[in-house]
Amino acid sequence: MDIINLDALAIAESIREGEISAVDATTAFLERIREVEAIVNAYINVSYEEAARRAEMIDAMLAEGRDPGPLAGVPIAVKDLLSTRGFTTTCGSRMLENFVPVYDATVVGRVGEAGMVMLGKANMDEFAMGSSTETSYFGPTRNPWNPDTVPGGSSGGSAAAVSAGEAPWALGSDTGGSIRQPAAMCGIVGMKPTYGLVSRYGLVAFASSLDQVGPMARNVGDCAALLGVIAGHDPMDSTSIPAEKVDYQGRLDGEVRGLKVGVVKEISSRGIDEGVLERFRAAVSKLEGLGMEVGEISLPSFEYALSAYYVIAPAEASSNLARFDGVRYGFRASAEGEDIWEMYDRTRSIGFGSEVKRRIILGTYVLSAGYYDAYYGQARKVRTLIVKEFERAFRTYDVLVSPTTPSVAFRLGEKVDDPLTMYLSDMCTIPVNLAGIPAISLPCGLSEGMPVGFQLMGPALGEATVLNVAYALESELGFDQRPPIGRS
């Protein structure tokens, strides 16, 4: 059996039916990792021994007739900014190169309770700041579709791992598009849930009011199932929504006739590559073919979303990252005779990469006395406008759609020295985070041989509808191509 090409739910079923063991599944993926990691670099640390031990334990439990959880033995990759007890959590930074947390993130606990086996910690832009996974201290991840291109970011490691068959699915996090943009570039499915649906406890914060953990998988069904595992109220996170658990996967029926789709004018025209637009338009007509009513909607504040985001996110980041100071844990650079202020300076100068420092400085500036109202205060007003525009749009439409990214994956090094151009690659995804609503990206074909992502957005807590429309579109598109990596 070609285990690494099975969907996650198919692996779960095979293990449950006794066709394969948890050890078989884990071993297959660990072998695939050994085979392609030298090129892809999707993982920062692979848990070879821990994963093997855990798989054995699950097999033992199954043999004894005990229940190791509904997804027993299914391997998973975890973005390296989710706290894993006893296993290094680096956030892609030198600052935390050797940092071993003392606790598990709530979502890590939940995938564990479901019986999953963590294969390792996926590569990412340093502290999730980036759109290409090139700012990782541990080297860039390469796109399995073309190793000369980036996988997107910041969850580029998670996306590449799933795309290259190094994991059946993965956990990512999305602050301005960090799940959807790499999912689009690597030809997989990735979802950013409603803010507050998934616990942030143990997610190392980039921008607290925007961050959200989400599922990344090869198809919508797996994505829905993984969301079902991680979603749900957590008393450890004050911003977590006390909502009822929903069986997202069980509600996928592809019945979307009569639903209204709004094409967002502002993010589906300007600055989008022609090839991407072509695939996008083709997918929109598939939605029409499914009996959905398609209209166009204008959301004028979107023009300001990127600017507002690059004030709010760095502001929060500058405060969130203040704790990395060399005093209690992580990297410390100090020399004999230095006082603590010099130690702070050296530690943070050396421990952080340039993109992180750029954002800390930017964030510190916009919060400074005399500048707060002009920048942070103003950005919050824009954010409120965006929230209201979305609310109004969802009074008419069930879902809104746009391309996920303005282009397909770009070449390594192409934008890394040009931050403003790099920031533009998140222009379609950022408004969703500012509004706190759910959105999914699924592949809608290839352009220049590289995957194109289609973004579906829904109202707050509208995950079930978004997933169902994505599910219907996925069947209609029949996109089943896999990247050529490691194939002879």
């Binding site: 704790r323 005093v327 400074s368």
Partner: protein
């Protein structure tokens, strides 16, 4: 030049909740360093705060006791600055929308009263504790510093007063009343020496009615230190102005041993805290029923109790203030006074001898061996002439030590006063006979001789003679 001192206070109170402000670690005082910690209060990556309901409750209670308005929807902010005792390098505090604002506290200065405005009462988290090893004792120039995060995250209520205080005396009175008010609410130990009550002051001197430059004073670790620091600073600022100098806006450090203040940092060196709304927390919205319940459950507060003790029991303001300083002591007094004896006498014994005994033995009024019944009995024995006031002191001491009732002690020791005239007559005759010189002096009208003769009577009776009866007899015989 006419000077007027203007003082405003900023007080921090550690709330005595079971757990910390944003995590479930114990909020108890002390313990082995860094044993009361977890990922949240150590600021580990990914950890998040969850507010302590009890701390919110107690802060609202305090705000209500200070006549503040409770904010329907208040916001936590992050106060950003780097310091090694702050695990996140920001403190979760409140900024422009605190949990309460606009209160008052009235202080009675004897000749006048003053209503001091309370700007706000808000809620925040405490920092850890640093020990800077090195000559300076401060972080600058320290060889190394030790950090204990047991205190990090303990809930702190911050009270900010309006600049309504005019003298160091008023400031001390304000702090004393605030201290007893907080103790009445049973929300904090309020121990300045353990740091559970801390006070910073802003002080300026207005000249001929025009506002002066404000100086902040830190490190005042007792009411006495605060009074001394403010007195010093008031004089320093007046002298500076009188000498034609200018008071600089700065933060100054009180050195208790040297009795002086010295510059800590100037206005230019002040931190820019970059406050912004804490995105990890949702707004605080206490429901009205909760606030109403707290308001209705407020105990009688010390200020009101002083006024009532003066009017209802006829106590002096001083003694009423002493008795109401602690809620349990005031309760003890009311219970004892309710047993039928003269409340002024009862108050005097509690505030005086009993207070001293408790103090010396470091015993609280709650575990005082002399019950309110015993104290009332003591006053009854004095009033009935059974024992003298002087004897009563010994009786109270013994009652305190043994736990026996005063009446029992008096009976067992045969301490009853000799007030019987015939018995005293015989005794006085004996004394006159044995001390003819003194008797002559007395006849010559030398009053000092009376003292000597009384002493002799007391010696013979081992102090049991009723002094008034005995001296009456001596006078009758010798004048």
């Amino acid at each position: 030049m006419e000077f007027e001192t203007v003082i405003g206070l900023e007080i921090h109170v550690e709330l005595s909740t079971d757990s910390k402000m944003f995590c479930s670690c114990s909020a108890g005082f002390g313990g082995e360093p860094n044993t009361k910690t977890c990922p949240v209060c150590l600021g580990h990556p990914g950890s998040l705060p969850v507010p302590n309901r009890r701390a919110v409750n107690d802060t609202i209670l305090l705000a209500l006791a200070l006549n503040c308005d409770i904010t329907g929807c208040s916001i936590f902010h992050r106060k950003n600055y780097f310091y090694p005792d702050m695990p996140k390098n920001f403190q979760i505090s409140q900024y422009d929308i605190p949990i309460s604002s606009g209160g008052t506290l009235e202080i009675d200065m004897g000749e006048y009263t003053r209503t001091v405005g309370i700007t706000r009462v808000h809620l925040e988290e405490d920092t850890g504790k640093s020990v800077h090893v090195g000559e300076s004792g401060r972080i600058h120039g320290a060889e190394y510093s030790l950090e204990d995060f047991n205190r990090a995250g303990i809930p702190l209520a911050e009270i900010v007063s309006e600049p309504d205080l005019r003298t160091p005396d008023e400031a001390r009175k304000f702090m004393q009343l605030l201290h007893s008010t907080i103790r009445y609410l049973e929300i904090s130990d309020c121990k300045m020496e353990e740091g559970s009550l801390r006070c910073d002051a802003n002080i300026s001197v207005a000249v001929d009615g025009s506002m002066g430059t404000k100086v902040e004073i830190k490190n005042m670790n007792s009411f006495r230190a605060m009074h001394r620091a403010l007195t010093y600073e008031e004089q320093r600022q007046r002298r500076t102005i009188r000498d034609g100098g200018e008071v600089v806006q700065e933060t100054r450090h009180w050195d208790d041993a040297r009795g002086t203040t010295s510059p800590l940092r100037s206005k230019e060196e002040a931190f820019d805290y970059r406050y912004f709304p804490e995105p990890d927390l949702v707004p605080l919205e206490p429901d009205e029923a909760w606030v109403r319940e707290l308001r209705e459950g407020l105990p009688e507060l010390p200020g009101d109790r002083v006024r009532r003790f003066v009017s209802e029991y006829g106590l002096s303001r001083e003694i009423a203030e002493t008795l109401t300083g602690e809620r349990a002591l005031a309760d003890y007094f009311e219970d004892a006074a309710g047993k039928g004896q003269d409340p002024v006498a009862v108050a005097k014994w509690i505030a005086g001898d009993l207070g001293a005994l408790l103090n010396d033995a470091a015993v609280t009024i709650q575990s005082c061996p002399v019950g309110t019944g015993g104290l009332s009995e003591l006053v009854e024995l004095i009033d009935g002439g059974v024992i003298s006031g002087k004897m009563a002191k010994d009786v109270l001491k013994e009652a305190f030590e043994t736990g026996n009732s005063p009446r029992l002690i008096v009976e067992e020791k045969g301490l009853t006063q000799i007030a019987d005239e015939s018995e005293l007559d015989t005794l006085v005759d004996e004394v006159i006979e044995e001390n003819p010189g003194a008797a002559d002096d007395m006849r010559d009208g030398k009053e000092q001789a009376l003292k000597f003769l009384m002493g002799q009577v007391m010696k013979k009776t081992r102090g049991k003679a009723n002094p008034k009866a005995a001296s009456d007899i001596i006078r009758k015989r010798l004048t």
